[in-house]
Amino acid sequence: MDTRASSITNPYNGPLEGDNAFAQITHNVTRIMQAPRPPLAWYIAFAFALSLLGVFGLSLGFVVWEGIGAWGHVHPVAWGFPIVNFVFWVGIGHAGTLISAVLFLFRQNWRTAINRFAEAMTIFAVVCAAVFPGVHIGRPWLPYWMFPIPNQMQMWPQFRSPLEWDVFAVGTYATVSILFWYMGMIPDFATFRDRSTGTVRRFVYGLVAMGWRGSSRQWHRYERAYLLLAGLATPLVLSVHSVVSFDFATSQLPGWHTTIFPPYFVAGAIFGGFAMVVVLAVPAREFFGLKRIITIKHLELMAKVILATGMIVGYAYAMEMFVAWYSGAMYEQFAFLNRAFGNYAWAYWTMIFCNVVSPQVFWFKKMRTNVWVILIVGIIVNVGMWFERFVIICTSLTRDFLPANWGAFIPSPVDYATLAGSFGLFFTLFLLFCRYLPMVAMAEVKAFIPESHVHDH
């Protein structure tokens, strides 16, 4: 291996320093931060992400200037792409919390390789998600009305509305995720601090590490706090996407009003979120030299989770269809027939193919352990989950109770630009995270390798 040439394009192809497993893990992760420049692939990806971010800024600016008619919104489809995007991004965030919190409670120690990375993904996905409710309102300079701030109108928000619950749920989720993510990073910031060479770097990492020195007495309280936060984050993650599902389920619209929405949305969120984790993990481990930490076994386990949650989503589809038929309710039955055979049938079948059919390849071990298959299926599932929200939101709105009220929804170019642009925001933040923050939870990984075992005779 010509280390010099390849280190221009990728500084992480070299062997790991360190005479013991712990030092190797430290080196594997801190060299990403210590390298004078990231690999070429990072620059290419960052340029692409930044340009999409620019597109995002421009399209949002245009919408604020012209009004939300710039999107394809038209009666009766008052909720179009922005809400689809919102639910899509919030959903993606959920996998990170699941990996951090739920898998921790289930003692699945393989999570330690990917949890930092997944939590980061959660934060950035929630940031992307939060933009949309703020911007999709008719007067986007007034989103602060959603918060209970005393004002001269002496009015308060309507707390009995699911849209207001969203504000609190997503806000709490963002806050708790950041707290959890930050707390997890404190020991790793300490490692970065201790391995940094420049004064500025040492100062900044030292500041955010809060003076962590790894005292076991501190570790004890830290671990309790971690367990408590994991125990809190678990019902939180269930509640957040349930609250998002309440936006639809509390209505009376056929196709929206159904009691299974809360767990169905949560399962779908985990499904889509894991797909996004996989889409990020495959290139990241390749380009940042993390293959020894994020191994094929991890990817295989994630593929299994994708298959399992995909089946739960399939179960929910089946229950909806069964009850629509069983209830004998004309509007409900029509809503589902319309989804499958109406104007937007192409979206419906795309969704079925992407969500139900494509993960089935993961029944085969060969497929589960092939990096390319995992990456492609991850992308397909993300597309499918976006279409699921599109089918639920837009097709149900185009065909509600009164035929006189039916309409068509045609997305405008600005809709597409905003959607694409949101990926720009996500990837920009994510690539910056890769560059400057500890991508892997070093302390947690170290705690579960065989060398960390205490041997009693």
């Binding site: 497993a21 009691t259 809360p262 089946a318 009850v323 947690e444 390798i449 009693d456």
Partner: protein, 420 residues
């Protein structure tokens, strides 16, 4: 710069404890029931049979309205234990769980409960065949508002055919798990265990659907106009709760009788307690979602089911359900120490079993008692009857096997595992 092993972060050989990796404990526990223990089985059968007989008499005969409703309540409660066990065994194979191996045989035995439940379903299914609408009002198609779909789904032949399918599947699956688990003891080892993991995945899918439709058929159709897509999930949480509570009590009784005394440790009870706690919260989540969504949209087609449960003395009953099924056990079981102490865990296990029965009652009885809760002797006797017969059968099956799957290659990890 030597080659490095991959850091899978797996707890390979590290079960989170200070014990040596892979070191097997010498299992010196008693692993089989003895004759004296089996005496309980006979007693259970006797008590169960007599209670059920009395219930029949007090409830207006086998097809009397009160008996049918009381019996359905007790039946679905008992069934939830067996189904919960069946689900749990499938799950343990699916996720390659290691902590639970020591108690898996107990669950496999509890899953055999689907056999007596199949036989015990006859008092409920015979009226369907004879078009006796004492329990299932949909037998009178006039009540279905001429909904074609309901006439297709809710007629005796399709209903019985579905029931036959469910029971064949449940009994077959339960037998399969027990058989394969015992095969491990004959030296099937790692290969067999891996194959069991692959089998568990498709069976889990079918199990999810059959449990859902079983709950729909027995409970949701009592009110043929009402529907709720989350209903299957709601019943499923009851299955998980009753199963875990019974598992804890089963293990404690065995230990009191001197079996598996060192194999099942505080750590295992802690994990069982955690699942009980978690599913109390999960039940609340599912129950609340169902209620709130129907309340919020306020569609009469859906709200009448809740109205039936919020009028007259059903309102305090519903409040009691919320208090006893959520508030009290949630705060009661929160503490780590409570889950690790056998006495407190036993208390909460019994509490949950009682409260889950009450949940079933809340689901079934408003169909009969429109004006208020009226728990009577028939309800209690039916409950004792089903419980006794179920318990008797499970213990009977236990006599033929060891109480721990000694052939499972992961047993060592289960014996030595420690909690966070």
């Amino acid at each position: 710069m030597s080659e490095h092993t991959e850091h899978t972060g797996d707890d390979h050989g590290h079960s989170g404890s200070a014990h040596g990796s892979g070191a097997h404990h010498e299992l010196t526990d008693s692993l089989r029931l003895n004759k004296a223990d089996l005496g309980l089985s006979t007693k259970a059968f006797a008590v169960g049979g007599i209670a059920l007989g009395l219930a029949v008499v007090l409830g207006g005969g086998p097809f009397g309205k009160q008996f049918q409703h009381s019996y359905l309540t007790a039946y679905m409660w008992g069934f939830s234990i067996a189904l919960g066990a069946l689900w749990w065994v499938t799950l343990q194979h699916l996720v390659n769980a290691r902590w639970s191996i020591v108690v898996r045989r107990l669950a496999e035995l509890m899953a055999q409960g689907v056999v007596p439940m199949a036989i015990l379903s006859l008092p409920l299914l015979v009226p369907v065949l004879t078009h006796n609408d004492t329990l299932f009002s949909w037998l009178d198609h006039e009540k279905l508002h001429h909904a074609r779909s309901k006439e297709v789904y809710l007629n005796p032949s399709f209903f019985i055919a579905r029931m036959a399918f469910y029971f064949v599947f449940f009994i077959g699956l339960a037998a399969f798990w027990l058989k394969k688990s015992r095969e491990q003891e004959k030296g099937g080892g790692v290969e067999l265990t891996k194959r069991l993991q692959s089998t568990s995945a498709p069976t889990m899918i079918v199990l999810a659907l059959t449990i859902t439709f079983c709950a729909i058929d027995f409970l949701m159709t009592l009110d043929p106009i009402w529907f709720s897509t989350i209903f299957g999930v709601y019943y499923f949480t009851t299955c998980v709760l009753t199963f875990h509570s019974t598992l804890a009590l089963f293990a404690m009784w065995l230990q009191k009788k001197g079996h598996v005394t060192s194999a099942v440790t505080t750590e295992h009870y802690h994990d069982i307690g955690k699942m009980m706690f978690a599913f109390i919260a999960f039940w609340t989540y599912i129950g609340f979602s169902q209620f709130m969504l129907i309340w919020y949209a306020n569609i009469p087609e859906e709200t009448h089911w809740f109205k039936d449960r919020l009028e007259g003395s059903w309102l305090p009953a519903s409040l009691i359900l919320a208090a006893t099924h959520f508030v009290i056990p949630f705060f009661g079981m929160m503490s780590r120490e409570i889950k690790r102490n056998k006495t407190t865990l036993r208390f909460w296990a019994i509490w949950i079993l009682v409260v889950c029965w009450f949940d079933m009652y809340w689901l079934v009885a408003p169909n009969l008692h429109k004006h208020g809760m009226a728990i009577g002797a028939t309800d209690i006797l039916s409950w004792i009857g089903v419980a006794g017969l179920l318990m008797g059968y499970v213990l009977l099956r236990a006599k033929d096997t060891t109480l721990i799957p000694t052939g499972d290659p992961r047993l060592g990890r289960s014996l030595s595992f420690q909690n966070i």
